[in-house]
């Protein structure tokens, strides 16, 4: 079974601060996806990274895929209360090539 470990599990910060969430595995993935989930809703896809070393930006969010395709990070600049939510990473490929393996999530709270 492939494991994706996310850290930190919980993060509470003030509006305007920067933060980074990490997603690590011992397995190599073909691609890695980041989702955000709000209370009472299903996860919503934010981005997919495919190439080792790839960096993608989505407004104030920066996503990076590790060179070895085993890890990823999500950096948020100048966090806002609207960024509050559960952030999930999901890896595709590796030993169970066809399935998505989800991390346990990072619960982010941005205080006004």
């Amino acid at each position: 079974t492939q494991l994706l470990e996310q850290s930190p599990q919980f993060l509470s910060i003030q509006e305007g601060e920067n933060l980074t969430v990490y997603c690590n595995s011992s397995s190599v993935f073909s691609s890695l996806q980041w989702y955000r989930q709000e209370p009472g809703e299903g996860p919503v896809l934010l981005v997919t990274v495919v190439t080792g070393g790839e960096v993608k930006k989505l407004k104030r969010l920066t996503f990076q895929f590790g060179d070895a395709r085993k890890d990823s990070s999500l950096h948020i600049t100048a966090a806002q209360p609207g960024d509050t939510g559960l952030y999930l990473c999901a890896g595709q490929g590796g030993s169970s090539a066809r399935q998505l393996t989800f991390g346990s999530g990072t619960q982010l709270t941005v205080l006004p």
Partner: protein, 112 residues
């Protein structure tokens, strides 16, 4: 809105009773998935389908069965509900296996 409807959205049932959750999509996507989400575990795959009448087990399939008689509908059945199956259940669809997933809004199931 990815055109996914889960029903019911909430259900309370007694231990030992059968329960069926329904997922309906209007996107004509080939792949459909059932996940459960529990605190500290992220999303875990229960079963998935890669076409009408084509299904396979996921990571946590014990105690669950599925059926897909039409492209648009994927049913999850708990033959005899147990308290350990209290969870939030999400249906998801994708165009390719392991590709970006679109999720429904979830069904909160409580087994008492």
């Amino acid at each position: 809105d990815a055109g996914i409807t889960q029903s019911p959205r909430h259900k309370v049932t007694e231990t030992g009773t059968p329960v069926t959750l329904r997922c309906h999509q209007t996107e004509n996507h080939r792949y459909m998935y059932w996940y459960r989400q529990d605190p500290g575990h992220g999303l875990r795959l229960i079963h998935y389908s890669y076409g009408v009448k084509d299904t396979d087990k996921g990571e946590v399939s014990d105690g669950y069965s599925v059926s897909r008689s039409k492209t648009e509908d994927f049913l999850l059945t708990l033959e005899s509900a147990t308290s350990s199956q209290t969870s939030v259940y999400f249906c998801a669809i994708s165009t390719q296996q392991g590709y970006e997933a679109f999720f429904g809004q979830g069904t909160r199931l409580t087994v008492v």
